[in-house]
């Protein structure tokens, strides 16, 4: 099953997560949490469902992933205009944590990109996007 797309991607995800998490460790953030904060920083306050759509994470998983960040005071969750929605907002403390983690992320990222070569890295990102689009059809 060496050619299984899914297993290969999952395997790579585990390997690369371990690398990033290890390097990010001093920041106190995991790569999942870092990515979440980064999305909030760039997209601004948004609902839980919207965050899930952006990150390709199930709605209910998002709810749970947000919890440790709330506990650490990095984000807040409040009711939106639409009373059904809950709006997630980056706190100053969250913005600070993100800024502190950024150079560590860059370190991990550089290691992979340089090891892989820029061209190959670009190809990989494009291929992964294609896979995501494919998987999410219908």
């Amino acid at each position: 099953m060496a050619e299984c797309v899914c297993s290969s991607i999952r395997k790579a995800a585990r390997a690369v997560t371990e690398l990033y998490d290890g390097i990010l460790k001093p920041s106190g953030l995991r790569v999942t949490q870092f990515a979440l904060l980064a999305v909030l920083a760039s997209a601004g306050s948004t609902t839980i469902t919207r965050l899930g759509q952006i990150l390709v994470i199930d709605r209910t998983t998002m709810t749970r992933n947000l919890k440790p960040l709330v506990n650490q005071g990095l984000i807040t969750i409040e009711a939106g205009q639409d009373q059904r929605t809950r709006v997630v907002t980056l706190t100053p403390s969250g913005r600070e944590a993100l800024a502190k983690a950024l150079p560590l992320w860059e370190k991990a990222q550089t290691r992979v990109v340089e090891g892989l070569g820029r061209q190959r890295w670009r190809t990989l990102l494009a291929d992964l996007s294609a896979v995501i689009a494919l998987a999410r059809l219908e």
Copy 2:
């Protein structure tokens, strides 16, 4: 953070896992479990640590991932010659479950491979291998 290698791979892993799990559903196996059984079928009985090395999964995670498969009677775990080790073996029932899941896996796999194109698929697998090797240096 759209260019984050780690986030992109994780995102793709989620998307593609959902696809495979959905298609594999009638077999009662998840893609993680399918991959595990497939490794056992091709490599034969092995220890927990060895399985983890093959699948790039932490030793302790392996222990837990094996549990539902034992409960379903698809594998057995027994002490090895070396009394420290525990040897995992595919049962006839496990072999059967794997065989039943295979055509479903092929369906999911075909969909991704054809959607992506053979060439691009090959490139992706090679790039993912490179990423794994990179991440696991040192």
